[in-house]
Symmetry: C2
């Protein structure tokens, strides 16, 4: 097995561990219902999500100072509300909506798989999300992380090298002792370029029913697993 000698596993989180899209749609639907609002929340969420890449790019190129993902989404939320007739939402409602990223639900196999893997490895997110978001999400969903590593600690977003190299260093490991687990090929490509091991777990409905990207492993990753249960088995956990 190409995964021998591994001591720690780092997980992409949004999409790989938690089902952000369905979670947000369900959460906002319940919010809308409680307020008597009739909104196409799926469209809203897909619109909202478009802020992610440009926001990180603005940070990466120095156009923006360091801005957390919570901050990036908040800017976009405020922009988006009028388009959906929601400009009257007050600050406390906006904060509640923006914190939905702290309330995401794990994919059905995630907690059981992580719990098995934790017995044998140090497990950590390696996410572009913020520390408090990942900590609150772990409490919400029962994710048994040993450590929380993410962009906010390194003030760089994946796939910047600083994130992977920073995680390897803080874990006290050599690159080949850490395995990156992700549902996104770009993330594994970056991890492999720094000497990390790689595991791909497809999440073909992360972006909804019409998803066209990351439907399968695009390289010979060290492990390709259907879910975290198969991953745990492949890693002898």
């Amino acid at each position: 097995m190409r995964a021998e000698g591994i001591r720690a596993l780092t997980f992409d989180t949004f999409g790989t561990v938690v089902d952000w899209r369905s979670s947000i749609i369900d959460d906002f639907f319940a919010f809308g219902k409680s307020k008597g609002l009739d909104i196409d929340w799926a469209a809203f969420v897909d619109d909202w999500k478009t802020a992610y890449q440009p926001g990180m790019d603005a940070v990466r190129t120095g156009k923006w100072p360091w801005t957390t993902v919570d901050g990036i989404y908040r800017i976009k939320l405020d922009e988006l509300l009028p388009k959906y007739g929601l400009e009257r939402l007050n600050e406390s409602e906006r904060m509640h909506l923006n914190r939905v990223w702290h309330r995401l639900n794990p994919w059905p196999d995630a907690v059981a798989g992580l719990t098995r893997l934790k017995r044998k490895y140090v497990i950590s997110p390696l996410s572009n999300g913020d520390v408090s978001c990942l900590a609150n999400m772990a409490k919400h969903g029962g994710l048994p992380w040993d450590v929380i590593l993410c962009a906010e600690i390194f003030r760089h977003y994946k796939p910047d090298p600083e994130v992977y190299l920073g995680a390897i260093q803080l874990l006290g490991c050599k690159p080949h002792e850490v395995m990156m687990v992700a549902a996104h090929n770009y993330d594994l490509r970056a991890a492999r370029s720094h000497g990390m091991r790689t595991a791909f777990v497809a999440r073909p409905t992360e972006y909804g029913p019409g998803q066209k990207t990351d439907l399968k492993a695009e390289e010979d990753w060290d492990i390709v697993a259907r879910d975290f249960s198969e991953l745990a088995t492949a890693l002898g956990a």
Copy 2:
């Protein structure tokens, strides 16, 4: 209660959560026995521990580049071995000894108290130890941290302000929403100066039977508890 509105608790770890001195003496005694060595391990450990403050000071003043606590202790270990007739220990034995800080045992009340507190608060170490040390120690002793925050993340040692302010920021809290828990008055003094809440838990045998410092709360900390069980009760957990 002066602790109202608290969302997260940060814990000094060496001395407050784990009994480093007894743990190391026991660990080294077992190591010595397996090698047929007759050493005064208590004296060895007390000697070794003297490296801590000067090592951090060397980093703080810029005399040394950033050096982890594992690194500080390793330098001192290599210096100290000849004094105890242990200069023949090889690299793997030295690494084993130096990693004893990853194998420390919690005080008897720590795990049960943290487990109660975790249900209501985000709990994290805020230690001068390294991320991998704290993660391995948590696995070794069953410490149920939500997050691991420490000097290595901020590249500053307590009581530098960067550590407390950095933790407050990464926890996504306001200063008064975070409570520092420590067996050391200096740590609480620094935390309070940045607006954090404070809880003192005395550990009168941390430094062995002759301990003369930190035997009691030296200021009117928000909570003074005998152990983590009393702390959890005081915090309604």
